[in-house]
Symmetry: C2
Subunit: 390 residues, 2 copies
């Protein structure tokens, strides 16, 4: 298979409810990506679009064809991927194989969502459609409840006092908000404190409001090309060197494995093996912090810290710039925002710019290899994408 | 790229509302496909699942992970594709490239829908989400209205009197119902007459009830493998020799091109070019007859008949077994049923069995090359898959 490079990215601001349609939002990101790659719409041979709930949020399913037409990439094959919050990571992983196989040379991949526009009640209800809808959702398992349950399981499994865990979780949010201040695309650009988190509105014990990422509107897109085309376009291509994806059954089927999420660990093994590296080789990571506890769990399953020790790592600053493994210096889902269908593409965009040393005040100096981790639903799907600089 | 073969298929009965969940329905088809291929669930390396409206029909999005777990293909990457009525054709086309590229050797692809379970009102409304939801749906363009409009445009463009066209359209439904009698998986196994069609309930002039396919529940799945694996599994593998996919903008963006559908013609060009053949080489075709007029339009764009002449072809029996190009001898969407996310996989399944001469009373003798044509939405997406016997 051929090497595949990213040569352009686009990213709308992640925001509260916007009046733009999903197609308008995606087109904005898509055109920025095409322009950044010094290409034109007619150069795009196929579109891979992640979108979770366009049908519910604005009565528009199958956005992909309209989006392709809207950017002037007329008549190209356009495919929609739905994998909950990992929708656009699925799209990018898939776009990868179409280029790696030699079938296409230049494709566009990304995602869009108007989750904020739906309002909190509707978004909470429809997000729950990504859980097991026949047995577990009726038992009350909306997303905050699920991750609250994982937090309790985490505390129990690793013998961390719940009050201590709450402080560690708060630090996750505090760090994300700190870095979010330096990201002009972030929904929240406002510093918060541990006290702000601990004194906030209780959403689902032990998760308080600032343990939870927001509902967001936004889009992100990347241009993927063959190595040959990449070298014509830029002297700083970033290659996709590893991909991983795995699934799990419903939470109750995972039984004693929780609070670890099996799909992530299977996915990580694939991505590391394909890239021929290990967790210690990663210079910068964007992981799926839909809730603060999700960050702690993810960082362990990705191999950065021992199980049960993530909280201490955040306490020691090991996840900050200059630390062992800088995590979510974009602001993460927590501060940057989480328009679910766009999140994976947003993470890939951040890593791309980190590897090109274009991130200004949130730059991880000398970053050469970066990893994105995107969770779909309550962990039944996880997609990893590894990038490496030229 | 490697050759890719189909070596097993599964197909639930297509029915009126069922009490089975989408995951149960899909698993039934998937297990049949795996067993037919003499494989076990653990042999499946990835799942590609088409589903249009699982979130609306039963509050279950992201079926793919649950489905993979349900069939015992634990932890494999599982991806959902949504392209309206072409959802599972997208899934199969995509599964093709993962095997062709050498990344996987054995994958499962298919689709599922519970459209009948939604009831007619809900299904009509949610199907309309596949049209342009911001401008055209608010103008009244649900699917019956769209294809009724195309019928009027067809009559006008080609100078066919509307009453004549209605008779020709009726013949399309009559033929599909005739062949549906020989398909044990078909929703309708009942012969109808031209009079039955013409005297039926008017849905959207000139389309009467029997010009329209039904809402259906059902699932279909196929196992795709590399050539090497195919030869180990069967002495009658069927190869995918061509794929095509294209998109269009909303109907009003297609202007004077209507009633032809641009996405189909672009898609057909790709598939014929890839396979190195032309329309005259096709022995059997399953095309997207969501409405009787849709069959006439499709058969012309696929190159079987001159524009404006499809109706005459049906009148002359050229689309019957023994005719120039047997079309929809499975019963088509009209008689076999149209569980939208499953339709493409169902079409591919029919062609597979035709090429293996396993279709009994509806067998097209000596069929060596077959084509499926699946439309997504009101023509904004079209996917073609070409199969050829060993």
């Amino acid at each position: 298979m051929r090497k595949v490079a990213i040569v352009g990215t686009g990213h709308t601001p992640f925001t509260f409810a916007t009046e733009k349609t999903s197609i308008e939002l995606f087109s904005e990101a898509a055109m920025d990506a095409i322009i950044e790659a010094n290409l034109r719409p007619k150069d795009i041979q196929a579109l891979y679009l992640g979108n979770g709930l366009g049908d519910f949020s604005e009565g528009q399913a199958m956005l992909q064809s309209y989006a392709a037409n809207d950017i002037g990439a007329f008549h190209i094959p356009a495919t929609r991927f739905e994998g909950a919050c990992a929708s656009s990571s699925l799209a990018i992983r898939d776009a990868f194989i179409w280029v790696a196989s030699g079938y296409y040379d230049v494709v566009l991949a990304g995602g869009v969502e108007r989750a904020a526009s739906m309002g909190t009640s509707m978004a909470t209800r429809t997000f729950a459609m990504f859980t097991d809808s026949h047995y577990e959702y009726p038992a009350g398992l909306t997303f905050p409840a699920i991750f609250a349950m994982l937090a309790h399981l985490y505390a129990e499994r690793y013998g961390v006092r719940l009050e201590k865990l709450k402080e560690q979780m708060a630090l996750v949010s505090v760090q994300s908000h700190y870095y979010g201040m330096f990201n002009p695309k972030a929904q929240f650009r406002k510093e918060i404190t541990v006290d702000d988190v601990l004194n906030g509105f209780m959403v689902s014990s032990p998760l308080q409001l600032l343990d939870c990422c927001p509902f967001s509107d936004g889009a992100a897109a990347v241009v993927l090309v063959s190595e040959e085309r990449a070298k014509e376009i830029t002297d700083k291509p970033v290659y996709i060197t590893g991909i991983g994806q795995a699934s799990s059954g419903k939470l109750s089927a995972q039984k004693d494995y929780l609070p670890r999420l099996r799909a992530r660990e299977e996915s990580a093994k694939q991505a590391y093996d394909m890239a021929g590296i290990g967790p210690g080789d990663i210079d910068v990571c964007e992981l799926h912090d839909c809730f603060s506890i999700a960050s702690l769990i993810a960082a362990e399953s990705l191999g950065f810290f021992e199980f049960g020790k993530s909280g201490e790592a955040w306490e020691k600053g090991e996840t900050k710039i200059g630390g062992k493994i800088p995590i979510n210096v974009s602001g993460g889902l927590k501060a940057k925002g989480h328009p679910i269908g766009a999140t994976g593409a947003s993470q890939v965009t951040e890593i791309y710019h980190q590897l090109r040393a274009e991130c200004g005040e949130r730059q991880v100096e000398g970053a050469k290899i970066g990893l994105t981790d995107t969770l779909g639903g309550d962990g039944v799907l996880c997609t990893l994408i590894m990038q490496k600089g030229w």
